[in-house]
Assembly symmetry: C2
Homo-oligomer: 404 residues x 2
């Protein structure tokens, strides 16, 4: 049988063809008016996509590079910071804070869970300089309460800066960066924006710019002030990832095209898309008799599903790849073998989702040892979720229907 | 919701990415050693793919061009030919025979049916110069009995040449061109070989070459003798479709890669692929309560499904396109509005098929007015067909299992 390779991983995600074409055509020099015009256009789109009046900067690095920038630019050795950690990427904040000599208070919760506002309040100190968190923890499929924590910081009179890793959160979760007061929000290219890895971006508030003036940690490539200065001139400080910038522009054009050319509305449509197909996937997993790893606060970006007792989730990953050339993610770190993860962020549609659930049903008897399994059970559950959401959306779009 | 455009049409069919890349890179002149090396390699692959020792020629035209060549090269005005017609492409043979002044006997059967050997025997005359037929009639989804008719011709002592339009038959149906004595077998590029339209190819037997010596119909661009002479020198007679030739080579590499590098075995795998997903589709259609248009002799290339009484099949085509960006084919000619067609030839896999059936289930209540429809019914039927075929294939591959 023909088996087309399909990614269902939370980064890299499936590439948008229009972005691939734009990347292939990006044969331009980066110190020319042509590139400056492209760069300025993409930076403007990026602000609209992030939904902020703050500066948004683009850098040739992975998301971790932008995470590092938000530590090295905001802190000095010995500074007290608060890290919220309930997964592999929370742990990365801890490692970064330590690498730059910060004194890190850590609220640690088990993988798959999230933080209560009381826990955050209790850990916040008068001299906490910054709070580092994930919007969605990619390793566990949990969504954290960015809005609640941002409001807690502001209402508590804390002067701590709020830094949010939204690498898988952007395009799958609603943010009001300026209204909530998120000081740095970080995104990456190989996620909801449908292009390959290699670009990171971050929005930076005026409070964060001010804080940089007193930060004494060393930085050069990731010096955000230098990058801001270049961006104002329509350039990047160092050689930019030209093809990825062109691809990102094409991706934003596509996202806007999903909402009549309005990029902000296109971002909302993209989030709704991820919400619908994640809901389909959760329903299918439950119909297969499987447990969700983060049932209380599931992210729309990625669904983590627990392998049945006594089974290794690696078998699911391996059998899907071997039999259907579909790539899903295993658990990370301690969770390897315990769960598998299916992504929904970016360029996925209804048909991708039904197809993956069909493949999961095929491997259910062997890799999942699902008892009394009937073909069509998980598919029917997903179909019903989709039909219900379509019906709701239609009802919402037709005022008469609401009153009918 | 994001909706990725997907073709489920019997030509054009979904493009193979490796072929697209080869086409994009095909920036070479056609009168150079580089192109001659490519052309000779692809002609050799073509012979292996068709499965013949006869010459196989490649021409820059659609399949209809090769159909014309097999009339204009083999006949003279006033020649008696026999056409087997049970669909739009059978009718095309009639039109071509008339255009070149032939005296056409026609066995006409209703759309969706096929021919008995007795019907063909009765229509065959001592002076019939050639028999023209389809291997699979794309407009109806019926498979015709090429082997039976070829053997009938040989056993009856007829000297008629056998010309088979296998444009959707190649790669979906087994042929033994040399063993059965098929004089011309015709294929097209936008079919099972996974590249865009614009190339046709045909195998030509020694009997056919001999017949050309006495044929007096005018031909120039489609003069097969001239094309053969150029092919022997590793070139095409006229400017070839360079990018498509490069794409075809990449497609053959892919087809061979499905069977450890053996192209003939890869063709068998491709046929099995179409057989499996067509069987899944037929089961799903029947589970939806729909009737097959050619139930007695269904082709693996394409499945034609009858719209329920009183409904227009255009609604199915339109709703699948509008809601899911999936393109299926309506009926052609008189059949427009009466049936819809789903293709299986070429680059389709299990997941494409499940996805399409999922979309068909979503539109079933509206476009198909399926009574008492339950989500998962059609999907479960297709899942069972796939699982059964995989189990059978495994059994066949494991001698112990057969005897267990």
């Amino acid at each position: 049988m023909i088996r087309k390779t399909r990614l269902f991983t939370p980064g890299p995600t499936p590439l948008l063809p229009a972005a691939q074409f734009a990347m292939a055509a990006a044969d331009i020099h980066h110190r020319t008016p042509e590139f400056r015009a492209l760069y300025q256009r993409v930076l403007a789109q990026l602000k609209e996509f992030v939904g902020t009046q703050n500066d948004v900067l683009l850098m040739a690095c992975s998301g971790t590079g932008a995470m590092e920038a938000s530590v090295s630019n905001l802190t000095s050795p010995g500074d007290r910071v608060l890290v919220l950690s309930a997964g592999k990427f929370g742990e990365r904040w801890v490692a970064l804070a330590k690498a730059f000599g910060c004194n890190a208070d850590v609220v640690t919760k088990p993988y798959g869970s999230t933080f209560t506002l009381d826990e955050v309040r209790a850990a916040l100190k008068p001299d906490t300089r910054a709070v580092y968190m994930q919007a969605t923890e990619t390793s566990t499929g949990a969504r954290h309460d960015v809005e609640g924590i941002a409001k807690l910081l502001r209402s508590s009179g804390s002067e701590a800066l709020l830094v949010v890793d939204a690498i898988t959160g952007l395009g799958t979760t609603h943010f009001d960066v300026d209204g909530w007061g998120v000081d740095i929000l970080i995104g990456g290219s190989q996620k909801a924006v449908m292009i390959p890895p290699g670009l990171a971006y971050l929005s930076v508030s005026e409070r964060a710019w001010a804080a940089m003036e007193t930060s004494r940690n060393p930085r050069y490539y990731f010096d955000l002030r230098r990058e801001r200065k270049s961006a104002k001139a329509g350039e990047s400080a160092y050689t930019p990832s030209v093809a990825l910038v062109a691809g990102l522009g094409a991706a934003f054009d596509f996202i806007a095209s999903q909402a009549g050319g309005d990029l902000a509305a296109g971002r909302v449509a993209l989030i709704n898309n991820a919400e619908t197909i994640s809901a389909m996937t959760r329903a299918a997993a439950q119909a297969l008799g499987l447990k969700l790893f983060a049932p209380d606060s599931p992210a729309a970006a990625v669904t983590a599903i627990v392998a049945p007792e006594g089974l290794d989730s690696s078998a699911v990953v391996k059998e899907l790849k071997g039999r259907f050339a579909s790539v899903i993610a295993n658990g990370q770190g301690d969770m390897k073998g315990k769960l598998f993860r299916v992504a929904h962020l970016g360029y996925f549609d209804f048909m991708d989702t039904i197809a993956l659930i069909g493949a999961l049903e095929q491997i259910a008897p062997t890799a999942l040892k699902t008892p009394n399994f009937q073909f069509g059970t998980a598919l029917a559950a997903a179909q019903q979720v989709y039909a219900d959401r379509v019906a709701e959306a239609r009802k919402a779009a037709t005022p008469e229907a609401v009153h009918a």
